[in-house]
Amino acid sequence: MANHDIHLTVRRGTVHALCGENGAGKSTLMKILYGMQKPDEGTIALDGEQVALHSPGDAIARGIGMVHQHFMLADNLTVLENTVLGAEKLHGIGAGARAKIREISDAYGLNVRPDVLVEDLGVADRQRVEILKVLYRGARTLILDEPTAVLVPQEVDALFDNLRELKSEGLTVIFISHKLGEVLSVADDITVIRRGTTVASVEPAGTTPKQLAELMVGSELPSPETRESTVRDEELLRVDDVRLSATDSDGVVRTVLDGISFTIRKGEVLGVAGVEGNGQAELVEAVMGIRTPDGGTITLDGTDLSRSSTRARREGGIGYIPEDRHRHGLLLDAPLWENRILGHVTERPNSKGRLLDLAGARKDTERIVAEYDVRTPGIEVTAASLSGGNQQKLIVGREMSHHPKLLIAAHPTRGVDVGAQAQIWEQIRAARREGLAVLLISADLDELIGLSDTLRVMYRGRLVADADPAVITPEELGSAMTGAASGHLSASDDSVDTAAAQGGDAQ
């Protein structure tokens, strides 16, 4: 059961925030409101009138629009096509629609171009297209499911300005987030959901983040904060002038990584901040050997790995927590013990020589399940039947079991509930004390700042800035992520020390 005994009342013309931990059932609730899922029981009333929503079409007809947590856009279609889809009756699919889109875009300052392919847009632009889609349908009630998860603080501010604009036009906004600061800053009312049910309705004025957090999880939010430094002198990973270009489907060559150089020492966590799509994923894949760089060298613990295969790198001591666990981390239809073998098939206890060691793998899977608290009835169930957090714990357990020298962790706690989040952070901290080097990529700036010993900012395929996590704030980091600042970001009175951009080696 994802939702039970939900009571939610939203006033017209307000921004209503819905918060709760991962998997609390927020998205499910909103999908019910939007007609994408059917409730087993209960009623929905709109302006006092009871309504039955059987499909998104019904909801749209009643002026409800939704921006999904995961973008619902067709990459190969243009912004115009994405917008008019399903609402062709309104203004046609040609010039009329184009004019209408321009009009809405201008009215709310969305700044979208109707004829570009969505494929070519960045995340913030895509989000604006999503909002445009909803407005185009004349929605009076907007549901935004975690719209800020992928935005940098400055973009979040712009978004909130848009929301206030909408509110002033008399629109109702339901806004989902588990970032408490945001919630408090923009919402008129707040409803908290926990384990599929509403536990509280509060007003932002009289509430502190701490109170909200307790409502959400029943205790204080765990913190990724790491105080003591475990950085040693030995250099473990050296990436030197790595360059990578990719050819897209039209044969256009794009530079995705440009002159990337950094080092990570034993016991050090290097955090890379950046808006998604600026090359972090490619950097990880280049270090993992999934992509072949055009130039540059990668040295692990004194061994040049630039030409090695992914398998050789893994055997050489790189552990990998991929960004998209369903795509890159697991075989969803395979049992847990086969997933334990994945990525380490050449190593003990998974194989002996060229043959698999099924008994060994099974036994070790039992151990991981126990040690890493993977909630599962057994190791024969498929990975797909585990919850996301438990899948992630299995992956972390698997990678840690081979005592990596370097861990590449991409968004290690994305979509994971707070309990599992704390566990994963603790695992990383513990291994770091033993001398593990970590390359951490995360969109969660608190996590990034909390866990890292060193911070770098990536923008358009380059490392454009560095920062000291002890003093930096998310806002300062955010402005570097948009390219507004570069060089060494010091926590001076103002947000950014742009002078460093010219000075470069001021430190």
Binding site: R194, T197, V199, A200, S201, V202, E203, G206, T207, Q211, E214, L215, G218, S219, M288, S309, T310, R311, A312, R314, E315, Y320, P322, R327, H328, G329, L330, L331, L332, D333, A334, L342, G343, V345, T346, S351, R354, L355, L356, E366, V369, A370, E371, D373, R375, T376, P377, G378, V381, T382, A384, S385, L386, D417, V418, G419, A420, A422, Q423, E426
Partner: protein, 396 residues
């Protein structure tokens, strides 16, 4: 949830045990459900077809069963099933990693032709000759399918299309060389390669009334090798990983491109074996009348057997049984073409039944896992913060 939960494996409460037991029962039931469902559906639909054409289905089934049980029928069925089985294996190697080798047909024909041409020209003593021919066939089959593998990895061309094209091209290549004065000789109105020397003749089991071809041993061996390779070796794990999820396999260190080429080569090598029972045990030459189309039958059988060596053996025998007994129907006043309908219906029913059952099973398992964890949380997790949802609501 808290970080200090007791490990679930420590001691399971009775409720969890009960759920686990029922899950195990479900697994067995589901395993049986798919084939049963498919067979029942296929029989029902085939019977309807019989009835619709005004025939008595049960008399027909009776005739087929009766004719199939004679020893000569069984020998025939086994002999006929061997190439089918080998073809299915070739297709299955690809299927296990989501590669669709429609080109087995062209591969085995080209392979058999090459082996026949070489076999007619050289005569090594004893078993050497047979080994040579089999190696040549596997090599040629592998090369022909390897082209598709290479085009896929280097140029990104779908193997479905290339193998279809290569089938036609193989036919033309054979046609070019299978001419008087090139690699063939004229024998009445037939053209075929020179007869293989005695040393190329494969042994056979002296059964009654006709012998069972010795190549059945090779087929069984090939099935065993296939099973072992896929399920027990590192290579097999990599192969299955690519089949289950290409990006996950890539990230886990499998070179997907290399695997594509290797498995196309393996598939083609297996395809090379398909023509061998005919060449080495029956015709001893490759002529214009060399059997064609077994590659396509292999696809059907691989689907039928779910890529499992035993399942495919069953499928191959079933197919051969239908071939054999279908022609008997013709003598009893039915149209033997009904066999084609039955075969088609069986394949369609099997693929649908398996998909339905698989999905149902997955949903069932998810629910069970959820229930089980809930049961676990209720009984075993009392110490932590599991019950914090019972805390009084806070309203600000």
């Amino acid at each position: 949830m808290s970080t200090s939960t007791p490990t679930p494996t420590a001691k399971k409460p009775a409720a969890v045990d009960a759920i686990a037991r029922s899950a195990a029962r479900d697994k067995v039931l589901l395993g049986v459900a798919a084939p049963v469902l498919a067979i029942v559906a296929a029989i029902v639909i085939s019977s309807l077809v019989f009835l619709a054409s005004g025939e008595n289905p049960f008399r027909a089934y009776g005739i087929m069963a009766d004719y199939g049980h004679y020893s000569d029928s069984q020998v025939w069925i086994v002999n006929k099933a061997v190439p089918y089985y080998l073809s299915a294996l070739a297709v299955a190697v690809g299927f296990r990693m989501n590669l669709f080798n429609i080109g087995v047909d062209g591969q085995y024909r080209l392979a058999a032709f090459a082996a026949a041409a070489v076999g007619g020209a050289v005569a090594l003593p004893g078993a050497l000759q047979i080994i040579l021919l089999i190696v040549i066939a596997m090599l040629v089959g592998a090369i022909w399918s390897g082209i598709a593998g290479l085009l896929k990895t280097t140029r990104g061309v779908s193997e479905v299309i290339t193998t279809i094209m290569l089938n036609s091209i193989a036919a033309s290549v054979i046609g070019y060389f299978l001419q008087d004065g090139r690699l063939a000789i004229k024998d009445g109105n037939l053209l075929h390669t020179k007869f293989l020397p005695e040393s190329s003749h494969f042994f056979s089991f002296p059964t009654h009334p006709k012998p069972v071809e010795g190549f059945v041993v090779v087929a069984v061996l090939a099935g065993a090798v296939y099973w072992f390779l896929i399920n027990r070796t590192r290579f097999g794990f990599d192969l299955r990983a690519v089949g289950a999820s290409e990006p996950a396999a890539e990230a886990s260190g499998v070179s997907v491109k290399r695997m594509v080429v290797i498995s196309m080569l393996l598939s083609g090598a297996a395809a090379g074996l398909v023509g061998m029972p005919t060449l080495l045990g029956e015709s001893f030459q490759y002529g214009t009348d060399f059997p064609a189309g077994i590659g396509f039958t292999g696809i059907a059988i691989a689907l039928l057997g779910r890529n499992h060596p035993a399942g495919m053996a069953f499928g191959a025998l079933l197919w051969a049984f239908l071939d054999r007994t279908g022609s008997r129907l013709e003598f009893e006043g039915y149209a033997q073409e009904i066999v084609g309908v039955i075969q088609g219906v069986i394949v369609l029913c099997v693929v649908i039944a398996y998909e339905v059952v698989r999905r149902y099973g997955l949903r069932l398992q998810q629910r069970k896992v959820g229930e089980e964890l809930a049961a676990l949380a209720r009984t075993g997790d009392g110490t932590g913060s599991a019950d914090n949802s019972d805390k009084p609501e806070v309203t600000a």
